[in-house]
Structures are given as structure tokens and as C-alpha cells.
């Protein structure tokens, strides 16, 4: 198969994932309502926190509220309640069929994840519109260039999140009881990515630790860019760290995948 044909195939898989994610109307509705409610709640809470206070740890009220809104939106997309196709297909023993496709299993899985992520875009747009309507959000700092930096950082953040999710899903090749581990992973990822509380508010030691983990590259970095918290040199460094995580995680995923594949094709799953 030529690489062009591979791309066509992967796009088709991604679009199918979008369609699957949007297939059940009640599910679409519930997840949209969930993110909207969450946005309203975090706005209420953070406004209450800042009632009568100008700044906390050098962060003003409007920024904290807007951060909380975007954090809620990001985590909604990047740490979905677990429905990884890979993990499900391993459990159902369907992996043999997936291996029989003329496209690799990892590209298939990633295309599917991208599709699922894309299917979340409409509800995120709704959430952002709602936040704008209630005055909880403002435009990104730094004009057009700032917006560009935010888009790049977000794309890298999504890549980091997808690779982390892929790695976690691949544990299904070793143990079929991933449910509990996934819950823990999800909670840790949400917290450590800075989606719940900005790393700005965390004690130095904790922040120092979290900065060495890939999670902050998923949410905290793009949001810092959004609020113009990073000056020129820091911005470049932050983007470089994100890119580095993408490369490292991709290499790790490849390593884990080759072990997983070995398990399937040599030991029979």
C-alpha cells in the first residue's frame, strides 16, 4: 500500500470514529450538558474564591476563572471517560482481526483517537460560547501571534495526551483488569495536567515534581500560553519541552507496542 493510500485509510478510520462518537444522540446530549454544567460550576466556585480578593499567588480573579473554564474544556477532551477502542478490542479478542488490516494497529488506534477527539469539538465550542456569554473568558493574550502559539501548544498538548492514553490502553495486552488502574490514571492525569487547579497555585515542591511529568504538557502549558504567562524565551522552551515529550512518548509507545505485538504473535495473546 502506498503511503497516500494509508492516509486515505486512516482518515476513513478517523471519520468513522467521529460518526461512532456522534451516533447515539442521547450520549451526545449528555456529554454536552456535562461539560456545560461543569463550566458553570467552576465559574461559580472560582468567582466565590476571588470574592473580595484581587490576587492569589500573583493570579487575578478573571484569569483564574478563565483558566478554570479552559481547564474544564481541555480535560473533557483529553481525559475522556475510558472508552479506548484498543483496550476494548484486546478484551474482546478482536485484536487478531485488527492485525489483519493492511494498516498498522497503532496508526489505526491513533486515527480512532483523533476522530473521537474531533467529535468533542462541537461541545467544546458550545462551552466556550457559554463562557464568553457569561463573561468568564477573554481572548488569548498576545494578539494573532499569541493565538498561533496557543494553537501550536494545544496541538502538541493533544499529541502528548493521545500518546499517554495509548500507552495506558496498551497495558490491556498484559492484564485484562485495567478498569481500576484507568480510574486512578484519569484522576492523576486530570490533577497533574493542571486541568483542575493551575500549577501556579501549587507549592513549589509539588510544582517542581509535576513539571517533570508529561501531564503538564497536556493542559498547563497551552493554558499558560493562552494567558501570556510565558515570555519569548520561556515560550520557546515550553513548546520545546512539549515537542520533546511527544518524541519521548512516541518512542516509548513504539517500544511497548513491539513487546505487546510479540506477546500476541508469539504467545498467542
Amino acid at each position: 500500500m502506498t503511503s497516500a493510500a494509508q492516509v486515505v485509510a486512516l482518515v476513513a478510520i478517523g471519520r468513522q470514529a467521529v460518526r461512532s462518537a456522534l451516533a447515539v444522540r442521547s450520549e451526545v446530549l449528555v456529554s454536552a450538558v456535562a461539560v456545560l454544567v461543569r463550566v458553570v460550576l467552576v465559574v461559580l466556585v472560582w468567582r466565590a474564591v476571588y470574592a473580595g480578593v484581587d490576587e492569589v499567588s500573583g493570579v487575578d480573579g478573571p484569569t483564574a476563572v478563565a483558566y478554570a473554564v479552559l481547564g474544564a474544556v481541555f480535560t473533557n477532551v483529553l481525559n475522556p471517560f475510558w472508552r479506548s477502542s484498543l483496550e476494548m478490542r484486546v478484551r474482546q479478542g478482536r485484536i487478531a482481526v485488527d492485525l489483519l488490516r493492511p494498516v498498522g494497529l497503532v496508526p489505526q488506534t491513533l486515527a480512532q483517537q483523533v476522530g473521537t477527539t474531533a467529535a468533542a469539538v462541537p461541545r467544546c465550542v458550545l462551552a466556550v460560547l457559554l463562557a464568553l456569554a457569561i463573561g468568564a473568558l477573554r481572548a488569548p493574550a498576545g494578539g494573532a501571534l499569541g493565538l498561533l502559539a496557543f494553537v501550536v501548544s494545544t496541538a502538541l498538548g493533544i499529541a502528548v495526551a493521545l500518546l499517554c492514553n495509548l500507552l495506558v490502553a496498551m497495558t490491556a495486552f498484559w492484564t485484562l483488569e485495567v478498569g481500576g488502574a484507568l480510574m486512578v490514571y484519569r484522576a492523576v492525569a486530570q490533577f497533574a495536567s493542571g486541568a483542575l487547579i493551575p500549577l501556579w497555585f501549587m507549592p513549589g515542591w509539588l510544582r517542581g515534581t509535576l513539571e517533570h511529568l508529561p501531564f503538564q504538557a497536556q493542559v498547563f502549558t497551552p493554558l499558560s500560553v493562552y494567558f501570556g504567562a510565558l515570555g519569548g524565551g520561556d515560550l520557546a522552551a515550553a513548546l520545546a519541552v512539549q515537542a520533546l515529550w511527544v518524541v519521548l512518548l512516541a518512542l516509548l509507545a513504539q517500544l511497548v507496542w513491539s513487546r505487546a505485538l510479540h506477546r500476541v504473535v508469539v504467545q498467542g495473546g
Binding site: M1, A12, Q16, R19, A96, P102, V266
Partner: protein, 345 residues
């Protein structure tokens, strides 16, 4: 032509699992000792399949059929031995090999559960790089052949087993692979659905020249479809060759089944070269015999005693109202081989 479609030589597959211990501290002990147990699912299987052949790959449960097919598709790496499909080593070149094969695992669907059948097909077409006109043409043909029209827009999870199997066959053949593996494609289907699938497989083989490797426990499938069969058990080939020859070689007898005019005819005289086999049988309808009529079989070797001679001898000796000459059915042949574990030379 030239090179065969499939060439397997000394194919072996072993599965190794850690021993699960029981009793106190079982988990700890199995961690420490790391004792392992090895199963040899396929044990030195060799065969070749020429282009355009339709081969039945048969054997009792656990014989190693599915394991062999998985090695041929590249999903499993052989422990030893060599395998080549269309000149490629499947497990080394898995994705390229995938383009040239269609696979149906009857026990397991390859379709997407939540998608309508049609969407599954479209995805398959994209995955295999089929262009629109070719796809439309193929889908039209299979829709007609397998009568898919009624449920093309039904999500796969809402299909009956027979409908799903027809969908799976279409998905496997949509991109026109020259080689088709069917692992129990008729399992659990009713007679009409089975017949339809057989017809489809026969047509695919005859018209498109698709090479087919068929695994099934339904011997009617085999009789209708396969000229050549490969019989395996315990991972070893017991027989590889013509179906008719197998039957001749293994069970060289024929039965003359007669319905006697009177119910208790006492002990029967068996003409030379025959033996009497008395199993509970009932008379055929429309012969005028009562339900209680005595039906017996005279078993003989047609190579030694010609059938007309046996008929003449039996009818001279007994008053009969009906007679029938039967060959042993394939089921009996296969059952005999499975239970004795080898093929008579």
C-alpha cells in the same frame, strides 16, 4: 502460475503459559518458580495449496486448524517451520500479506458493531484502497449474490447470525483477494443460510478463481465444496488428498439395505462376500411396508463382490419390498479416522 499459493513446511506452533498453581501461597509460588507448560498446537504440518484450489482443512476440536490459519494469515509466528503465502512470509510482511487475503472467522465478526453494514463495507473499501467504482460494482454483486439488500442499513449488532456471516463474507471479499480463509463460516447457521454460503463460496472459487481454505465441522460443506481435504489431529496431518479416495480407502464397503416383506424372518442367510448389519432403521415411505417392517443391511466390498451379484443373491434368498444401495456417509468415515487417530494406508 508456477509458485503455489500456499507452501507450509514443517510448521510448528507451541504455546507456553505459566502454570497456574492452586493451594496455599499459590500466587507467590508461581511467581517464584516461573514454571511453564507448553502446548504443541501444530506439530510439523506440511502442505501446499495451488492457485484456484478449494481445500477443506478438517480436524476435531482442538486439532490445530485455527492455529494453522492464524499462522497462514500472519497473526501468529510459527515456533518453527516455514510458511509462504503468494511468495511472502506472512508474519514478516503482515500488512502487505493482508491486502491479498480475505479472512472470515465464523466465531468472531470483523465488522464494526455500532455501524450499519454499509458503513462497515465502506470502511473496508477505504482500508484496502478500493476506488469508488470498483467498490460500487463489488457491493452490487455481493448484495445480489448474498441477498444483503434488506439489512444493508442495519447496525451490525442488530443482525441475525446468518445475516452477519453474509456481511462478514462480503467484507472479506469486497477487495477481491485471490486467497480466502474461511474458519467455520457456517457455524450455527440454518440449512438455508448454509446453502447460500456454500453457493457463494463455490461461485467465488469457480468464477473468480479464488483459492479457498475452508475449515468446518459440517461435512455437508465438505461434500458440496471440496475435492481435496486435509485432515489433521493433534497438530499432525493424517490425510491429504482426494475426498473420494479417502472414502474409498478408508471405508471400502457398501450397504445393500432391504426392507423385508415379513416382520420376523428369523436368522438371515448372508450370501457369500456379505455380512448382515442389523441396526435400527425404518422403512422408507411410499413402499407400502408397515412401520414395524424389518429393515436390514448386507455389507459388502464392491471391489470383491459386484453390487448386482449381491442384489441377485439377496433377492433370491429373501422376499423384499424395497431395496437401496448406500455408501457410508462422510461423517462415519471422519468419525472413524478421528477415533482411531490415523488413516489406513
Amino acid at each position: 502460475m508456477g509458485q503455489p499459493m500456499i507452501r507450509a513446511e514443517g510448521l510448528v506452533k507451541e504455546f507456553t503459559r505459566p502454570v497456574r498453581r492452586t493451594g496455599p501461597l499459590a500466587g507467590l509460588r508461581s511467581l517464584v518458580t516461573r514454571e511453564r507448560v507448553t502446548t504443541r498446537a501444530v506439530d510439523g504440518v506440511s502442505f501446499t495449496v495451488e492457485r484456484g484450489e478449494l481445500v477443506g482443512y478438517l480436524g476435531p476440536n482442538g486439532a490445530g486448524k485455527s492455529t494453522t490459519i492464524k499462522m497462514l494469515t500472519g497473526v501468529l509466528v510459527p515456533t518453527s517451520g516455514t510458511v509462504e503465502v503468494d511468495g511472502r512470509v506472512p508474519w514478516k510482511d503482515r500488512t502487505r500479506n493482508a491486502r491479498g487475503i480475505g479472512v472470515v472467522f465464523g466465531q468472531r465478526t470483523q465488522l464494526w458493531h455500532d455501524l450499519p453494514l454499509r458503513d462497515s463495507f465502506e470502511l473496508v473499501a477505504k482500508l484496502y484502497g478500493l476506488d469508488r467504482p470498483d467498490y460500487e460494482r463489488a457491493l452490487g454483486r455481493f448484495t445480489e449474490l448474498l441477498d444483503l439488500g434488506e439489512f444493508l442499513d442495519t447496525p451490525v449488532r442488530g443482525l441475525s447470525l446468518g445475516q452477519r456471516m453474509r456481511g462478514d463474507l462480503t467484507a472479506a471479499m469486497l477487495y477481491g483477494p485471490p486467497l480466502l480463509y474461511l474458519d467455520e463460516p457456517t457455524v450455527g447457521l440454518d440449512v438455508v443460510a448454509k446453502a447460500r454460503i456454500r453457493e457463494f463460496v463455490a461461485e467465488t472459487n469457480a468464477v473468480d478463481g479464488t483459492t479457498v481454505v475452508l475449515t468446518t465441522h459440517d461435512l455437508v460443506d465438505v461434500e458440496r465444496l471440496c475435492r481435496r481435504v486435509l485432515l489433521i489431529d493433534h497438530g499432525e496431518v493424517l490425510y491429504d488428498g482426494d475426498l473420494a479416495a479417502l472414502r474409498r480407502r478408508y471405508v471400502p464397503y457398501r450397504d445393500l439395505v432391504v426392507t423385508l416383506a415379513r416382520e420376523d424372518d428369523g436368522p438371515l442367510v448372508a450370501p457369500p462376500g456379505t455380512t448382515v448389519v442389523e441396526e435400527p432403521r425404518t422403512a422408507r415411505a411410499g413402499t407400502g411396508a408397515s412401520d414395524a417392517a424389518r429393515v436390514v443391511a448386507f455389507r459388502f466390498d464392491p471391489a470383491q463382490t459386484p453390487t448386482p451379484a449381491v442384489v441377485a443373491a439377496v433377492t433370491a434368498e429373501h422376499e423384499v419390498v424395497d431395496l437401496d444401495v448406500t455408501d457410508p456417509d462422510l461423517e462415519a468415515v471422519i468419525a472413524e479416522i478421528y477415533s482411531s487417530g490415523r488413516v489406513r494406508a
